[in-house]
Symmetry: none
Subunit: 124 residues, 4 copies
DNA sequence: GTGGTCTAGACCACC
DNA sequence: GTGGTCTAGACCACT
């Protein structure tokens, strides 16, 4: 399904989270689709099941998947729908945030540097 | 106290809000200090009192000032104290936001462009 | 098709929305079935088309129907399929909500009272 | 500070989360206050630090505390402010949720039973 | 010292 | 089999 990148600065569970978000946004995963079980994916990626558990729990908390004990985890109904609307809202939030950081003396260069770093993390 | 900039893209109430935040963060205004009354500031800046009202209301909602009926508005106790924490939190929020926008296919360049624009707005 | 209840506390568009949901959940309406056009239903119920429009728009936003311009509105494919998952999710949301309200000092009796009221509203 | 209840059906990390929420809502903890470190609280409660970590992370995700690596965890600025407004909003969400569950065939008795259970969990 | 991540392995309830 | 919780212990980066 995908590969982990150990030279990526993001922790493993974040890589997993982000990957599933991409799969959902891209349409590769649709609402209601089953995602691999915690143990299954753990053995596929050769990591500890707890790490998958952590990723799945956060995805659930953010409304992307829904885990049903003894049944499995599934892409949430409404996961896609919600986030089509969300990009514009996120931009607005970003704008407000940057405004406020600027008020507090934060310089443009510092912010851009931070952003560059985030994008570097997933490259190599 | 300060001057409005009509060639700034920010609406007047935002300029006023941002200016007070800067005064508080820079230490020019301390906790407990009285800020000008709505009418007073409105006549100083030669603008409509409603505009000041809107700015003050949002400053209060964000915890920077507190209005005491029949007495005036004052810089909130704790407005400064919480700053270090607030900036940390804002950076974390920023990081999460950028991560998510990246997952949704937003490119680095688009985000940086947006930020450059925000910083331009207040310059001239 | 159905009748509106003017002594019901719910606004008309909510009654229409709820009714369509019931029809879908009960199996009376299947995926792909055409629902009456806005004007058609409006004249059947002798109410303003805007009311129907509002109900349909929300049903579409929630993924129950989808409108095809110049063709009409249809029950969404997957509307039923996702039900089991949706109910599970709603129960989880309910549980989290009640937990939080409890933390905030809300008493059991107040919550149950609220629920009793909701169920009364649709009866008569 | 407080005691865990092993006959409570809630997992330990939930008890810890709920307890901190109560402390914040009741005013016992104010914005900016430091909360015990992960290890400190773990030894106080005689449980594994990972369990505290889990509780703190969720509290942070929900905006109640803010954890700064190498510094400690603090009650978020805005934690209180946000939640005074929230109770009314939660009631609205509850109402909408119950409406929808009713549409899907869920009976009043089932819902009330669920709520009774939640409140039972923390009693003994 | 702080928070954060990860592992290995245990146990539970549910179906 | 499934998800969920908890423990014990390791390591990291940061201050």
């Amino acid at each position: 399904m995908f590969t982990l990148n150990y030279s990526d600065h993001r922790p493993l569970y974040r890589q997993i989270k982000d990957h599933f978000k991409e799969l959902i946004f891209s349409g590769a995963l649709n609402e209601g689709d089953k995602v691999p079980s915690v143990r299954e994916l753990a053995s596929m990626l050769a990591i500890n099941p707890n790490t998958i558990q952590k990723a799945y729990k956060e995805l659930e908390a953010e409304g992307f998947i829904s885990s049903v004990p003894a049944k499995g985890s599934f892409v949430s109904p409404g996961a896609l729908q919600k986030d089509a609307l969300k990009l514009e809202e996120m931009k607005k939030t970003l704008r407000r945030l940057i405004y406020d950081m600027r008020c507090m003396g934060e310089k443009k260069e510092g912010i851009i540097e931070e952003i560059e770093e985030i994008f570097k993390e997933g490259e190599k």
